[in-house]
């Protein structure tokens, strides 16, 4: 554990140096990341210029939900970079051999080999939006709420990571170049609206099949004082734990199944 923590810090420092070596590239990546985040808000902002409420959810509440979802997403984005090209780079090109040869956990290496540093701006933006929305709604967080908030952010990031690890592990069996990762990535958006607007099928899909609802919607209900979802709120850590367990099992199965390309 201690060794892994030290390795993590080394990996992080090393990659930061690599990224900062190309300053112009990093700046462009940072500003495009910023632009993407701002544009993401566009839909909600334009919409609420036309309507007063979304069902019984106010503008501030929807913005709070959207802002909150950015925080775990930001952390997830920082470490998820390698997952996008995993099938392409590690399986098809056989780079996974190198990972297997090292005496460190394979999953650990794949996740922490690259960091999308610029995505940390999403965390900051999310925190800013959440703070502004709380102010405008005259809501205050208690001491316990700060603890819950941190826990929910961690669980959200874990849920995102677990879902995409499972999808990534699929490339151990099917060497498809694009696969199913991008469509599911776009579904992240759908967990950023109150789940109550959907019918039971989509609510079920976003809760139990691809549990993005547990990473964004259910956590926020507690802070917005909507107690009808209290059970779901308390299930968030359970879902996070369950899905990460599943992810680890699937990944380990995949590694066993891996056959090198011989390069």
């Amino acid at each position: 554990m201690k060794r892994h923590l030290r390795l993590f810090l080394r990996y992080f420092a090393q990659y930061t140096k690599v990224r900062l070596a190309y300053k112009a590239d990093f700046l462009i990546a940072f500003f495009s990341s910023m632009a993407a985040t701002v544009l993401g808000f566009g839909f909600v902002l334009v919409l609420f210029s036309k309507i007063p409420r979304l069902q019984d959810w106010s503008f501030n509440e929807v913005m709070f939900l959207y802002g909150f979802s950015l925080i775990p997403l930001g952390f997830f984005n920082v470490v998820s970079w390698n997952l996008y090209d995993f099938g392409e780079l590690y399986i098809i090109e056989g780079r996974f051999d190198r990972v297997l040869l090292r005496p460190v956990d394979t999953l650990f290496q794949v996740i922490f080999e690259k960091f999308r540093l610029e995505s940390l701006q999403e965390v900051v933006t999310g925190l800013a939006v959440v703070t502004i929305c709380l102010r405008r709604m005259h809501l205050a967080l208690g001491v316990a709420d700060y603890f819950w908030f941190a826990l929910m952010v961690a669980c959200g990031a874990v849920i995102y990571l677990a879902v995409f690890l499972i999808l990534t592990a699929v490339s151990f069996w099917f060497e498809d170049r694009v696969g199913i990762v991008p469509p599911v990535f776009n579904m992240l958006n759908f967990g950023r609206y109150p789940l109550t607007i959907y019918n039971v099928f989509i609510q079920f899909l976003l809760s139990w099949i691809i549990p993005f609802g547990f990473a964004s919607f259910y956590p926020t209900t507690h802070f917005l004082g909507r107690n009808t979802f209290a059970v779901y709120f308390h299930l968030v850590p359970v879902v996070a734990a369950g899905f990460s367990l599943l992810a680890i099992v699937v990944c380990n199965r995949g590694v066993v199944n891996y056959s090198s390309t011989g390069t």
Binding site: Y22, D25, A29, A36, G42, I51, W81, V178, G179, P183
Partner: protein, 285 residues
């Protein structure tokens, strides 16, 4: 086969036969794109399901939005549902990955193979993307449209004339998207990674093309700015034509402007390519 270059060097041929050689060459690239897509045909089955889920989700989002009003900016719920549904259907056709392909070529050091081909690189990529789009038209767009029209009460085109103009307009949308993606892709030659740029472009196109919501929902100031940009000609304009929201003169003007943007964007891409490819570092290879 560098048929066009060889023919050009000989010089003595009739222009018409030169044109046919040229066309045959790029049709061949189109065929390659088509066949490449064929190799990953399983992906399109998941594609139909994905599009169905997307549009279902947007159906509920918009249903919640229309709970408090019957008409927003001249769109009632039925018009808006058609706007969103058909908008996504045409996206399954006009969409392409030229920027990502170029980025991969650069990353993997295969760009040299592109550079030594005596063809117009831009046209080569566009032709390949066209082949892929034709493939998707059959395996993704048509089945998705069938399912969606059966499940949701989507409206047909406003009239036969609007339907015809809509088809022309969607073809031009394809060219606009292809040209924009090529422009974004050329940045891969000078930058280390264009992943961030591609992500920003993705969100920019989603919002400013009118895919997520009609441009007329934006505040006036933004509408005026967007009218000067090419993005709303990708989805908003074809959908206005489909829904019959443009009269004859408006229709002609819209399509003329689409042609204009195709020409301008292709020219920008071409200029950027010749500027970027002058100083290329080939990685390893």
């Amino acid at each position: 086969m560098p048929a066009a270059a060889v023919a050009g060097a000989r010089g003595g041929e009739r222009p018409s036969s030169l044109f046919w050689r040229w066309l045959r060459l790029y049709l061949e690239f189109g065929r390659v794109g088509f066949v490449n897509a064929l190799a990953y045909r399983l992906r399109y089955v998941t594609g139909i399901v994905t599009y169905f889920i997307y549009i279902s989700v947007y159906y509920f989002i918009w249903k919640a939005i229309y709970e408090h009003s019957t008409s927003i900016e001249g769109f009632d719920f039925s018009h808006l549902l058609t706007y969103i549904g058909v908008g996504w259907i045409i996206r399954s056709f006009y969409f392409n990955n030229i920027d990502q392909e170029l980025a991969y070529q650069v990353m993997e050091g295969r760009l040299a193979m592109d550079l030594i081909k005596p063809v117009n690189i831009q046209l080569m990529y566009v032709a390949r993307a066209a082949g892929e789009s034709i493939f998707r038209l059959v395996l993704l767009t048509a089945p998705t449209a069938l399912v969606l029209f059966l499940v949701y009460p989507l409206r047909p085109p406003a009239s036969v004339r609007h339907g015809g103009a809509f088809l022309v307009s969607v073809l031009l949308s394809f060219l606009i998207v292809a040209a924009i993606n090529f422009v974004v892709g050329t940045f891969a030659l000078r930058l280390q990674s264009i992943l961030g740029l591609m992500r920003a472009k993705f969100f920019l196109l989603e919002l400013l093309s009118g895919l997520l919501l009609p441009i007329s929902f934006f505040p006036q100031v933004f509408q005026k700015i967007f009218a000067l940009l090419p993005f709303e000609y990708i989805s908003y304009v074809p959908m206005l034509i489909y829904l019959g929201k443009l009269d004859d003169s408006g229709l002609a003007r819209a399509i003329a402007l689409q042609f204009f943007w195709v020409a301008v964007l292709l020219a920008i891409g071409n200029a950027l390519w010749s500027w970027s490819s002058r100083k290329v570092t080939i990685q390893g290879g």
